[in-house]
Amino acid sequence: MLDRKQQPKYTEIENIHLHEPKLTKLSNNIPLAIFNLGSQDIIKLDFIFDAGIVRQDSPLIATSTVDMLQEGSEKYTGKEIAEGIDFLGAHLHYSIQKDYAKITLYTLKKHAAKAFDILADTIKNPLFPEKQLATYIAKQKQVFQLEMEKVKTLASRKFSETLFGKDNAYGRKSKLEDYDKINSSILKDFFKKHYTANNCKIIIAGKIDKEITNLLEEYFSKKWNTYSVLEQIPSIAISQKEKQKHFIAKEGSLQSSIRLGKILFNRKNPNYPAMQVVNTVLGGYFGSRLMRNIREDKGYTYGIGSAIASLQQTGYFIIASEVNAQYSQETIQEIKKEIKILQEELIPEEELKKVKSYMLGQLIRAVDGPFSLSDTFLNVWLQDLDLSYYKKHIETVKSINTKDIRDLSNKYLQIDSLIEIVAGK
């Protein structure tokens, strides 16, 4: 007789295969990580430059510089870059983070030469044409104004500002007027200083053979020797002396956006893997304490979660949700209640076991296939670590016990140390 009440036999996740990259350098000394695997003839190529938000003297410079790279270069107009990439069925993405700028190319292997040619010109010889810059700025202003109508954006910005402080690159908010201060010459200076061959790292993943590595040499090493010494980034002086609770009113909001959190530490701290487990229990997956209470039990929200983030200089802990505006205070109370429970009671063994399996399952997904693997590797490589970090992660996840969860919750999640931001009603 089929017993539908009983879960079928299953195995604990024993081994997770971490496919190591080949670590090498181009002839001009650019560090290169190669992941040669996968079933399809496709390539993902990431360029990472030390040109993140932390490097800018005023708002929007770092973002505008990376965005404008594709708007015109020595060999190709913006139109030709777009046409050329689109015709190959390729994709180019330019993005900015607090600590770095990233340019990603996706292409079929058969079109690599042409795609690399276009990409190379945007990275080495962008022109920052005035006309395209004006259009870009106008568009960004529109987008900014739209974003400012969203409670989520208002809460996020205030959170960063309160967490890191108003006057440093991590916490400083952009304003509408800042857009009008951007011009070609400022961006050119920023580019010259930061987008040099010696401030760059490359990750390539997919079907990577000699033909491809030769192309990398051809386009990104030969005659590319720009050099610039970047100063040590001043320590972000983080102070939480100021007011820790903020409310931003937004007329007519049906929902309020809530952010709670604090400065924590980054991946280099030995407690990081263990805190990831604590975080997962609290709010890191669908079955978390926060989801079960605030969504599944109370129905206050469509989603609530927590995370820990790792930056070059530090890290932080954050709880985020958009909730029914009538229940913002109740939500905050329930969040604090859940943290307190973790601090006072041991979680059931079954629950910890489940979280461990979930986290190991997530890691399997995060290293499955060349593209996921290269993203996962990027996270650690930029902090001067490598995939062996994940061995430590796996060990910690497997060995952590319920007492550790309680101790770490007490040590690092003191409720009085959390800043509170509500935007809405």
Binding site: Y10, S39, I42, L146
Partner: protein, 412 residues
């Protein structure tokens, strides 16, 4: 070429198996042939509410997510106007858990009052978060009944209004389940390092004992051809004017559909597209402008959606779109323009094939639509569209009488 095996159980469940030995993860996907179009017009938002209820516990298993998390699995689901789709990814050693979970909730849900109460509240929050509390959030809700007068596509998956969700009863919920959720109304698709024989055995064990059910017949009306231009104007508290224009196109498997998809790509896919270059970059009439097709099974829409720059009017914005349309229809395609969008389609397919989840989902959805092998015919169907058919379809679709326009005015 995506190779797969297909078989059907006695109870009507269609099963597709695709072997991919490059991943330690297996993707398990079930598509039920029920969507928002199957709802009673006075009880909309139901199929989607139902999707939520499917996670509230089934007859033998009180929690869906927990046992899955226990085995390192992950899951999600989505509903649209045509289908409801559920999927899990898990380490291949623990595949049987997915069989156990999905077969039990196909057998029957737990139907607890608490589950209905909570998911009702959650869905209402989702409605607010995505449709009411966001600038432009209700645009799609307003637009649909403008373009569709008879067909159930006139309402959105989230529902026409919150009150429909608020008044759903347990009786309604049970009735909906038993008239739409059944093995004979579903397709199961599995992709990963698996063998068809082992899948057959697992299906026999877990799904074969579930009996066929009588599925509510689809009797909704076809949308009659639109014969004149439609226009609606609303005012909202948003920072900029927006415009949406929709044109009727062919059904999902018609030759016209593929030509319309290429048309939307030529208009707005990527930075070399016509709308981006001409109306955003050059003329600076829009800060955002997109053209896309709805992708629905029954005849859908080709939609233009854009946000107007502050110094331009909605009338100018609409006029500029018609001018772009005229330019295309009168002057035809530029050299290599059609080949470019075909290349993009081919490339998308190849990238999609690198994911077991994408493959499982596409096989399942195509089988629900008509048959799974369409996954291998798609690129060819796009390739076959030549310039003359492309233009013929464009001329037929982009007519004023076939157009519904919404001006979404900023109160500022």
């Amino acid at each position: 070429m995506i190779k797969f095996d297909k078989f059907t159980l006695d109870n009507g469940l269609r099963v597709i198996v695709h072997k991919d030995d490059t991943s330690p993860i297996v993707a398990f996907n079930i598509t039920y042939n029920v969507g928002a179009k199957d709802e009673n017009p006075k009880q909309t938002g139901f199929a989607h509410l139902f999707e939520h209820l499917m996670f509230g516990g089934s007859i033998n298993i009180p929690s869906f997510d927990e046992p899955l998390e226990r085995v390192g699995g992950s899951n999600n689901a989505f509903t649209n106007n045509d289908i409801t789709n559920y999927y899990e990814t898990l380490p291949k050693e623990n595949l049987e858990t997915a069989f156990w979970l999905e077969s039990d909730r196909m057998l029957s849900l737990a139907f607890t009052p608490k589950s209905l109460e909570v998911q009702r509240a959650v869905v209402i929050e989702e409605f607010k978060q995505n449709y009411l509390n966001q600038p432009y959030g209700d645009l799609s809700l307003i637009f649909r009944p403008l373009a569709y007068k008879k067909h159930p596509y006139q309402w959105s998956t989230i529902g026409k209004e919150i009150s429909h969700i608020e008044s759903a009863t347990m009786e309604d919920v049970k009735d909906f389940f038993f008239s739409h959720y059944a093995p004979n109304n579903a397709v199961l698709s599995i992709a990963g390092n698996v063998e068809t024989e082992e899948i057959k055995q697992l299906c026999q064990k877990w799904f074969a004992p579930i009996e066929k059910r009588e599925i509510k017949k689809r009797t909704y009306p076809k949308e009659p051809q639109q014969t004149e231009y439609r226009f609606l104007e609303v005012e909202r508290d948003v920072p900029a004017d927006a415009i949406q224009m929709g044109f009727h196109i062919g059904d999902r498997l018609s030759k016209e559909y593929y030509a319309s998809d290429l048309l939307s790509d030529i208009l707005s896919n990527g930075k070399s597209s016509r709308l981006y270059r001409n109306l955003i970059q050059e003329k600076k009439i829009f800060s955002e402008l997109d053209a896309y097709i709805s992708g629905s099974f029954d005849p859908g829409l080709l939609i233009f959606n854009g946000q107007v720059m502050p110094n331009k009017t909605l009338k100018e914005a609409e006029k500029s779109i018609w001018e772009e349309i005229e330019n295309l229809l009168n002057n035809g395609l530029k050299d290599k323009e059609l080949q470019k969008v075909k290349n993009k389609i081919e490339s998308s397919q190849i990238f999609a094939n690198s994911s077991v989840l994408n493959k499982a989902m596409n096989l399942s959805i195509f089988e629900t639509l008509k048959n799974a092998d369409i996954i291998n015919q798609e690129v060819e169907r796009y390739e076959k569209i030549d310039e003359s058919f492309f233009m013929e379809n464009a001329k037929n679709v982009l007519r004023k009488e076939n157009c519904s326009t919404l001006y979404y005015r900023s109160k500022k």
